[in-house]
Amino acid sequence: MDRQIDISGTRIEVIERGAGPPLLFLHPGIGIAPDSAVLNMLAERFHVLAPSHPGFGESGLASDTSTVEDLAYHYLDFMKRLDVRDVRLVGVGLGGWIAAEIAVMNSSRLSQLVLANSVGIKVGDRETRDIVDIFAITKEDLASRSYHDPNAARRDLGALSHEQRRIIARNWESTARFGWSPYMHNPKLRGRLQRLDVPTLILWGESDRIVSVDYGRALCKAIPGARFELIPSAGHYPHIEQPARFAQAILDFAGEGRHETRTASPADTLSP
């Protein structure tokens, strides 16, 4: 069942699957396909909500939505509008960056956070490009760096409809809209991650040559109590190349529960 939802005047398309505790899936820059296998696997345990970000797919775009911070506010409104609680928030690539910003701003509706091959933080020095400049390499190079098996990415663009090609073009443009400069990161995010009070799992497609495994480990280190897990035979999009392993890792993490890894805050010990 898919639907359209109006969030503060912006019409958003949402893929909706399954029943159970809510899981909000935030897609990477290439968008999310309705027939995505990983969504069906996750739907066996969760009520999966997979919206297209403003400016992506067929979702609308308000004229003042121009930063990842705007997208994070959008999803806080989205969760409030649907009144979902104890949300498993899962983001891949650009979606991981949005998810991390959301969790830093307000984690009150979140139970767990899963960031997969996420961008969003600055790791190296000012002359080191942490994330490959996808706008400065050929499409062939981009495919080979993004996938463990680049053949899996091959598509006959000529066979697609104009509308399907429009969505590809729109997703590419919006990836630049939100990630052009500072390139694919918020310089302040890494420092803010120490605020995170949600159990966090970092998943990383081992063959990602857009954002390295080392970057993933640095991201993990910046988040209190976060756990790191590699997904073999997958690149930048582990949910596409290894949907079963990706879904199983999230299911296993959900089994660990929120309170097992949460450290007690001083407020917890102050009884009235």
Partner: protein, 400 residues
């Protein structure tokens, strides 16, 4: 009726020194400062000759490229503002979409206008796709930034009574107060380039001059959109002085010699796309629909001949360029006929912009090109009246 001469001031040796990319990622170690200095002095001498012979001057800028050594157009414009005496100095253009600081642009423009004693013509341009890599400004919403920069710039140039404040979407300033103030009132004539009908409408609304570059006979639909906007706004029809067209010029005493020059100059369109592929079409530079069409591999050609044949500038012959109205080539008689026939066909323009030097056309050839243009073509061009404009005048007279 004016003729503006221009050269992109190429770093000539690079034509044979690049490895498939003349722009953005061609390392500047191939750029010899001695040769560069010699070339720039030569190009400024050729511009000075234009001033002496009655031609006007057009300058531009590009970034991180061997095709154009003018990386900051205000600098050659300032040099020529002092060195020349009478020529109009057309900057076409000033790539404001790629400038993070339009206040600095306003200051440069005002200073050049004052030094030249009010001879500046100010062209504002979106800039070619490759500039994005150098400016690092987001190519998404580039035209929104262009128009805010435009609005700020014109206000900065025309405000004289008190400093003003600007808190826009893209630019923030307080206490804007441009010293020295611009010489022309309220500011130099404004030109904008475009190849699109949508932009032509925006340019017409503001009453700026419109320039098309190398779009050949496809220019007609762009001009028509501009004229239609004037009609919809119930304004008098825009005269040919509102229109400009840029083509290549290879003129010589004999047709054979002109063709030989044209062959050298044809390296320019043939290498215009010699750039590492990812920099050719940054995201947001074209519309979603245009990009969707490009993904299908069926994009419409931008340059058309008079009979509607699409031209691929990267592989074209000199004859293709002539047929497309991109190049005017031959004896002075032939060139004059080609130019006026083309002007009449696309709706008539008074501002003829000519790239009279490109790549390996040497100094002697360029001087001859400029001299024949000034002595043999310019006097006739000054007497020319576009037939479309004449027809419109007659129509007005009949109605009156």
């Amino acid at each position: 009726m004016r003729i503006y001469y221009m050269t992109e001031q190429p770093y000539v040796p690079a034509l044979k020194q690049h490895s498939g990319s003349l722009r953005v990622n061609l390392p500047n170690r191939v750029c010899d400062p001695q040769i560069t200095g010699d070339l720039l002095h030569r190009y400024y001498d050729e511009y000075a000759l234009c001033d002496e012979l009655g031609l006007d001057i057009m300058l531009n800028e590009h970034h991180a490229t061997a095709t154009c050594l003018s990386s900051a157009v205000a600098i050659p414009a300032a040099i020529l503002a002092r060195e020349t005496k009478r020529a109009r100095l057309l900057i076409l253009g000033y790539p404001i979409s790629h400038r993070p600081d339009p206040l600095r642009a306003a200051e440069e423009i005002a200073l050049i206008d004052v030094i030249s004693r009010g001879r500046l013509e100010l062209g504002l341009v979106k800039g070619v796709p490759y500039e994005t890599a150098a400016s690092n400004l987001n190519p998404v919403r580039i035209m929104d930034r262009f128009w805010e920069s435009h609005d700020f710039l014109l206000k900065a140039l025309s405000s004289h009574d008190e400093p003003f404040n600007w808190e826009g979407e893209f630019f923030h300033y307080r206490n804007v107060n441009v010293w020295p103030r611009v010489a022309q009132n309220p500011y130099p004539p404004i030109w904008v380039t475009t190849a699109s009908k949508g932009n032509a409408i925006e340019i017409a609304k503001r009453g700026h001059n419109i320039a098309t570059m190398g779009t050949g006979y496809a220019s007609k639909s762009v001009y028509d959109a501009y004229k239609q906007t004037y009609r919809e706004l119930s304004r008098p029809a825009p005269g040919p002085e509102k229109f400009a067209y840029l083509g290549f010029l290879a003129v010589a005493a004999t047709e054979a010699e002109a063709r030989a020059r044209a062959e050298k100059m044809a390296s320019y369109p043939r290498t215009a796309q010699t750039v590492f592929a990812p920099f050719k079409n940054p995201p947001g530079f074209l519309s979603i629909d245009d990009n969707a069409r490009m993904l299908s591999g069926k994009a419409a050609p931008r340059t058309l001949t008079k009979d509607g044949r699409g031209i691929d500038p990267s592989t074209c012959s000199v004859q293709d360029l002539i047929d497309a109205g991109m190049m005017f080539c031959g004896t002075p008689d032939q060139v004059y006929r080609q130019i006026t026939e083309f002007s009449d066909a696309i709706g008539g323009f008074a501002n003829l912009l000519l790239m009279g030097q490109a790549w390996e056309l040497n100094h002697a050839e360029t001087v001859d090109n400029i001299t024949l243009l000034a002595k043999e073509v310019l006097p006739r061009w000054q007497e020319y009246r576009p037939s479309a404009a004449a027809e419109e005048l007659q129509a007005v007279a009949r109605v009156g």
